[in-house]
Amino acid sequence: MKQMTYAEAIRDGMRVEMQRDPNVYLAGEDVAQFGGCFGVTGTLYDEFGPQRVLNTPISEAVIVGHAVGAAAAGLRPIAEIMFVDFMGCCMDELFNQAAKMRYMFGGKAKVPMVVRTPCGAGMGAAAQHSQCMESWFTHIPGIKTVMPSTPADAKGLMAAAIRDDNPVVYIEHKQLLGVSGDVPEGEYVVPLGKADIKREGSDITIVAWSWMMQKALAAAEQLAAKGINAEVIDPRTLIPLDKDEILKSVSKTGKLLIVHEEVKTSGFAGEIAAIVADEGFDYLDAPIKRVTAPDTPIPFSPVLETAYLPSEEKIIKAVEEMF
């Protein structure tokens, strides 16, 4: 184990896989000598050189489009999009090309690529640089969606994403980049589709991922002081989703709260709620509740941004209303 920040853990995950497999390479805006807009790629250029760490033009369509072709031809690209908010510029490459190719070629082509991109609010970066949009990707069959909440998961999931033969959108939260934690050294893989119980409890199941995972854990500690023992589950990957772990937990607690930072309408909480209502109806002892951002663009004003974001207080209030 080694103490690393979330950003260092992502980098370590890429480094180990690049050492393992010469087909793995990294491409994006300013990812080489500069080390990435948020410093995530760091020294990888120095370690692996210009053949493996490439700066690209300022064109998301090029970044993702070239990766689709490279992956179909046998490489394993990691493409970095500077903000998830910019995904609109390369959406056709992702959802119509990357996601469809393996199916349309009857399985003869594989598209083993990773799109790394940061998400999240709380930095005063306003409506176009603060979003969480995981449901954009979970709604596309053929794409896997990964959202780590801890440094260790960030590393292990990066390895699994790179080794996967399908396009994976790997979403890093900007608020988590500087968070430190114990991370296994060397090769470390967290399988996609395996949820993690971050806190065991008996009274209510809280499902949350990415930054909201940390908020849910903090809320759970405060709830424990009030006599409510919450179980906090981190699905870690939304597609594939470990619904069995969620259903198992709800069968124990009878109550489900889902927390996410993206907006409520058509958010992924709705999908989880639907699965549990469908397959776990008889477990439910209370209506399923969601704590999410409201259906509005993210405000620039720091005061309004704080009001916009799901918080520990909002989670605690929602839980208390279920008892």
Partner: protein, 399 residues
């Protein structure tokens, strides 16, 4: 402008009421004053009138919901009118308790609210499944979850307590819910039976004197003004208590109090049970006044038109089965916090010895039940002797 329908205060002492049957459905049009909904307290069921003209837009409190006075039961207004302000203003269960146990106590432990909403029982899927697996009638289980929803815990508790279960599979002709006034009577009777030391004295009294007096008083009077035997008996009882207040007592904590007022409760059979309106200061009232009051209370009682205050404050109760001509003596149950109750049986001609001769006299059975914790057999017998003297020598009632 929409109007709220709130839990009325049917008497000074009333704090909560239970919503009974809604006589109108959501969407029905209403005229002000039209009967709308029944409200039950532990003593009476009243029909509540519509406070306004309009459409019954929303039933907020379904049958069985227990509300504080002023609590929102529903809303009346025009079609499509926004009633969100009314709904938002409706008080909700306190949720600020700082522990899970306290939250549960606040929402369910104190005011037990049957989990109904819009005529449908609110129950969580998990609770419903558990109830079905265990063959529990969950409509009989009180919900402690948000909005009175029945939760898994409630069913587990009901299972432990045996609520809602029935092992009786004999065919039935009719099934009535054990609720409202019926349940209130049941619970009060059982509470009385198990909380005091009841003894009953039985005796026969000669009614010839009082019947002769009644005939004399009623001579020439119109039927509607005629004094009833009940009125004469009530007057006799009140006078007997005035002379000897031994039965006009109550146990209050560690004090036995002899009460100043002589308020006679009068048990009246009504279609679904029994109510006990009160004749206040019966000893101070003229016979004609008492006679009128008895008729009025009984009449309004049978029509469910009494208010709660008319049912509170009795110090001694009379329950009369004489009219059925089938019972001489019985063992009435004391109406707490009173200490005694007088059961009146039928009056029938019987052979009795008077002055060494066997004669036929109209004899009436009396049964005095009293709480032996605070009233012994001897003083109860002494009081009964005073009453018998009043009845057999009715002129003494008026001395």
């Amino acid at each position: 402008m929409a109007t709220s329908i709130t839990m009325p205060k049917l008497g000074l002492a009333m704090k909560t009421g239970t919503v009974g049957k809604w006589l109108k459905q959501e969407g029905d049009s209403l005229k002000k004053g039209e009967t709308l909904v029944e409200v039950m307290t532990d003593k009476i069921t009243n029909k509540i009138e519509s406070p306004a003209d309009g459409i019954l837009l929303k039933i907020v409190a379904a049958k069985g919901t227990k509300l504080s006075v002023g609590g929102l039961m529903g809303a009346i207004g025009e079609v499509g009118e926004d009633i969100s302000a009314i709904l938002a203003a409706s008080p909700v269960a306190a949720g600020s308790a700082d522990s899970k146990e306290k939250v549960k106590a606040a929402s369910g432990g104190i005011v037990k609210t049957p989990a109904t909403g819009g005529g449908k029982v609110k129950i969580s899927p998990a609770a419903r499944k558990l109830a079905e697996e265990n063959d529990i009638d969950y409509t009989l289980v009180g919900g402690t979850g948000p909005e009175g929803r029945i939760t898994r815990d409630d069913i587990e508790k009901a299972l432990a307590e045996g609520v809602g279960t029935s092992s009786d599979d004999r065919p039935t002709l009719k099934v009535m819910p054990y609720e409202g006034m019926r349940r209130a009577i049941g619970e009060n009777m059982l509470a009385s039976w198990t909380s005091n030391a009841k003894v009953t004295h039985h005796v026969s009294v000669d009614m010839s004197g009082i019947l002769a007096l009644r005939k004399q008083i009623n001579e020439g009077l119109k039927d509607k003004d005629k004094i009833s035997v009940t009125a004469l008996l009530t007057k006799a009882v009140a006078r007997a208590i005035e002379i000897n207040p031994a039965v006009n007592v109550t146990l209050d904590g560690d004090e036995i109090k002899t009460l100043q007022e002589i308020n006679i409760g009068m048990a009246v059979a009504v279609p679904d049970g029994l109510i006990v309106p009160v004749l206040r200061r019966a000893n101070e009232k003229k016979l004609t006044q008492l006679n009128e009051e008895i008729k009025d209370l009984a009449k309004r009682g049978r029509r469910n038109k009494l208010n709660v205050d008319e049912m509170n404050g009795a110090t001694f109760t009379i329950t009369n089965l004489g009219g059925y001509q089938s019972v001489d003596w019985f063992t009435p149950i004391i109406n707490p916090p009173e200490a005694a109750i007088l059961g009146v049986g039928r009056t029938v001609d019987k052979p009795v010895a008077v002055g060494g001769e066997v004669v036929v006299r109209p004899m009436m059975g009396l049964s005095l039940s009293f709480d032996h914790r605070i009233l012994d057999g001897a003083p109860a017998a002494e009081w009964l002797a005073v009453l018998i003297d009043m009845i057999e020598n009715p002129q003494k009632i008026f001395i």
